[in-house]
Symmetry: C2
Subunit: 141 residues, 2 copies
């Protein structure tokens, strides 16, 4: 068998939204819309400032570039503010990547790397009809 | 009081993804990625063909235009395939719209209209940093 038969259990961890200014975005999502701020941090390694707000069964990740050379900054320049990615939590990110690779799906990250909340890898949006999909295996610090 | 003090309980119902061809998209999301197909239907009133796939705690709504004059077809022409909207289920859509309107957020739908799964209304993406937000109050048939 060249393709794994086990299936991946997908669960939406968050929807990532690129914004120009994090304070402005938090004003909209928290103050005006009434969502609860869960976490805010600067992630210099990723060239972004990040906030998570509660979306009931999931969260929204608001990302504002702090480094003009970051992918987030390029996205903002090319597409403007808006939805950037959908992140699915998986139990075993290595197995999930092996499964997707065996199915011929193009990956951005062939091996997982450390993200904010655990091991992450991105699938190429050309493989998934324009949606940037992030896989996350949560790692407890 | 001009603004309601009660807060809206948000819960992600689905992430809407515009695709060119529904069969091709289902091949990717169901056959290759291993998500489960929950529902598929043609919605002539909306000029789209729709499928919902299971995303664990939520769903993905794949939308392919059947009418070249539909909003979905225009989105596809202007932006290509990709994430189109994020839908939040709310308990009382009239109250939610009143709350958002009182906060000065620009709405696409001032009053709810009947969608596939209940009463729906869209918030203008210019109000929410480029994200097209759909509110849904589920109505049991």
């Amino acid at each position: 068998m060249s393709t794994p038969t086990s299936s991946i259990l997908y669960h939406i961890d968050h929807v990532g939204i690129v914004v120009r200014n994090l304070d402005d975005a938090l004003k909209t999502y928290v103050e005006l819309m009434g969502m609860r701020l869960l976490e805010r941090q600067v992630a210099p390694d990723h060239g972004v400032e990040i906030a998570f707000v509660d979306a009931g069964n999931s969260t929204l990740e608001l990302l504002a570039p702090t480094d003009p050379a970051s992918g987030t900054a390029r996205f903002l320049e090319n597409r403007g503010e808006g939805t950037h990615h959908v992140c699915f939590v998986v139990e075993d990110i290595e197995a999930a990547l092996a499964h997707l690779r065996a199915q011929g799906l193009r990956l951005i990250d062939e091996t997982p790397r450390m993200g904010i909340h655990g091991l992450v890898a991105f699938v190429h949006p050309k493989a998934t009809h324009g949606v940037m999909i992030e896989l996350l295996q949560r790692v407890t610090h």
